[in-house]
Amino acid sequence: MSEIAAAGVRPAWRSKLGTGADAASRASDARRVLQLALAGVWLLDAVLQYQSFMFTKAFGQMLAGTSAGNPGAVASPINWDARLVEHHTVVLNAIFATIQLLLALGIAWRPTVRLALGASIAWSLGVWWFGEGLGGVLAGTASPLNGAPGAVIIYALLAVLLWPADRGGKPAPFTAARAVGAPVARALWVVLWLSLAYFALLPANRAPQALNGMIAGMESGEPGWLAAIDRAAASLVAHQGLAASIVLAVALVIIAAGVFLPPPAARATLVLAVVVAAVIWVVGEAFGAILAGGATDPNSGLLLILLALVYWPAGTTSSPEHAPVSARQEGIPA
């Protein structure tokens, strides 16, 4: 049998592939990779929104539940929205899911990055209010372990920090500083992590059995191995609510201060942030209850990990290969 190939062009083609991959790699700097990670989380959020549970009246009831404990001015619009969703569940939820799908695709498609990121900020703020009751921040029920200050507000924060623009002057010390500048980026980081530390010490969270109850409550519907992890973690903090809350708050304060430290120490605190966020995501949030089939989003742990990476100190090399790529070089129109 004759072996037919394209006249020796396959090796050439393979070589071209390598060249192309290299070029693409250079063009995709850290910020673009993080934008794609954000797009991926939005895509995951979208497919979760298409789950059967979201097309039942339970979705509207879940929204209504987020109004509890909030001031009237915040709660009334939530209740109005929840009633609207209950009456038009299928159509509205299909629209919600499709909007999130379009946000994901828009961020991943370079010409529409700005439009999609801008829309994601507006959408996130709306969902934070109407879908998450401002994350329970005003209700006194927010806890770092249950998604405070609201997973969706972290989407908005990431969209701001990953905005494809560069402030002039000296090179940014980390990706988050490229669009808003280092002082603003540091301030946002500190506000977020100090607020988490504050929430950890709220009376509702430092009660002897508060953390135990919160973690044990995540067991339901989870696979055996995850339920076992939750059971073990819950027993570890049983009757230790105050001590566990203090330890958690101290860790969160250290993380908050990390962005002011020299790069080696900053990296160490960012690693701590990733570890704490991973523990929150696995133990406190059970992966956002995705494996139990009732998740509306992956919850805050995954986003906190992504946020930590956005603050990772930039390399000190001056090699052009490692230099940040401008938005125009990335193929993103002004």
């Binding site: 037919i4 006249a7 090796p11 083609w13 693409a24 995951l44």
Partner: protein
């Protein structure tokens, strides 16, 4: 209540479009004329099979083969792409896991195999075949939900990466939005590659692209796209068409996996 059938039908229709496009690419490429080099059509064959299978999973009326038969099909495809990825890794290291290579196709085929092997009975009522993701038959679920989640994450990752590369500068041949053009002087290239005059046999297919029979070169077919020299000027064979199909399938497959957790 399940996810509304009309939503699943939309995704099923999208899969039918992918199947039609993949079939059109195969018809234009005519891989049967290529001998052993016909392996360059593996992506379109896998896209065609996956799209048909997924359409059947999403809409009961489009169901074709029994689940066990599909499991065998995707077992073979998974083994094939695993072989390709292994060969790529030996040659290029971890770079072979990038989206421009065979790795995403291995993930796609593996996810399909997993779905057909891990299906459990509907939670309520009795669905017909695997279909039953929608309708009144009750939602089928997957055992080992963590694996479903991990597959969904991988598919999402490759999909957003593909979309970025399709729209970005410096895109490689896999992502070119341009219509492919015939490569001239192929015989000369063959000579440069060391082919002997005796073994190089020029062919002249209808599309005007010269192909040369050349011992050994087919064994180098570790690529996961059709080389530009084979695509001619036909826009159906443009690399971005296959990549777009992959994106559509990746998103739809991630959706199906999450719905069946």
């Amino acid at each position: 209540m399940s996810t509304p059938a009309w939503i699943l039908d939309i995704f099923a229709a999208l899969m039918l479009v992918v199947a039609a496009v993949s079939a059109a690419r195969l018809v234009v490429l005519r891989p049967w004329r290529l001998g052993r080099a016909a392996v360059v059509a593996d992506i379109d064959v896998s896209h065609l099979l996956m799209a048909i299978a997924m359409a059947g999973m999403l809409a009961a009326g489009l169901s074709t083969l029994p689940n066990d038969a599909w499991a065998v099909v995707f077992g073979v495809l998974t083994a094939w792409f695993a072989y390709q990825v292994t060969r790529d890794v030996r040659r290029e290291g971890s770079r072979a896991l990038a989206a421009g290579h065979c790795a995403p196709h291995l993930v796609h085929a593996g996810a399909m195999l997993y779905m057909f092997l891990a299906l459990t009975a509907p939670a309520a009522g009795g669905g017909s075949g695997m279909a039953g993701m929608g309708g009144s038959g009750g939602m089928q679920t997957l055992s080992l939900p963590l694996l479903a989640f991990l597959f969904a994450l991988a598919l999402i990752g490759y999909s957003v990466w593909d979309l970025d590369q399709l729209s970005g500068p410096g895109a490689g041949p896999h992502y070119s939005l341009a219509v492919p053009r015939p490569v001239p002087a192929l015989v000369g290239a063959a000579a440069g590659a060391g082919a002997s005059a005796a073994s190089a046999v020029a062919l002249a297919p209808d599309d005007g692209v010269a192909l040369v029979a050349q011992p050994g070169l087919a064994d180098q077919a570790a690529s996961c796209a059709i080389p530009a020299s084979l695509t001619g000027a036909n826009p159906v064979l443009a690399p971005w068409v296959a990549t777009s199909c992959r994106i559509a399938m990746g998103v739809t497959m991630a959706l199906m996996l999450v719905l069946m957790i």
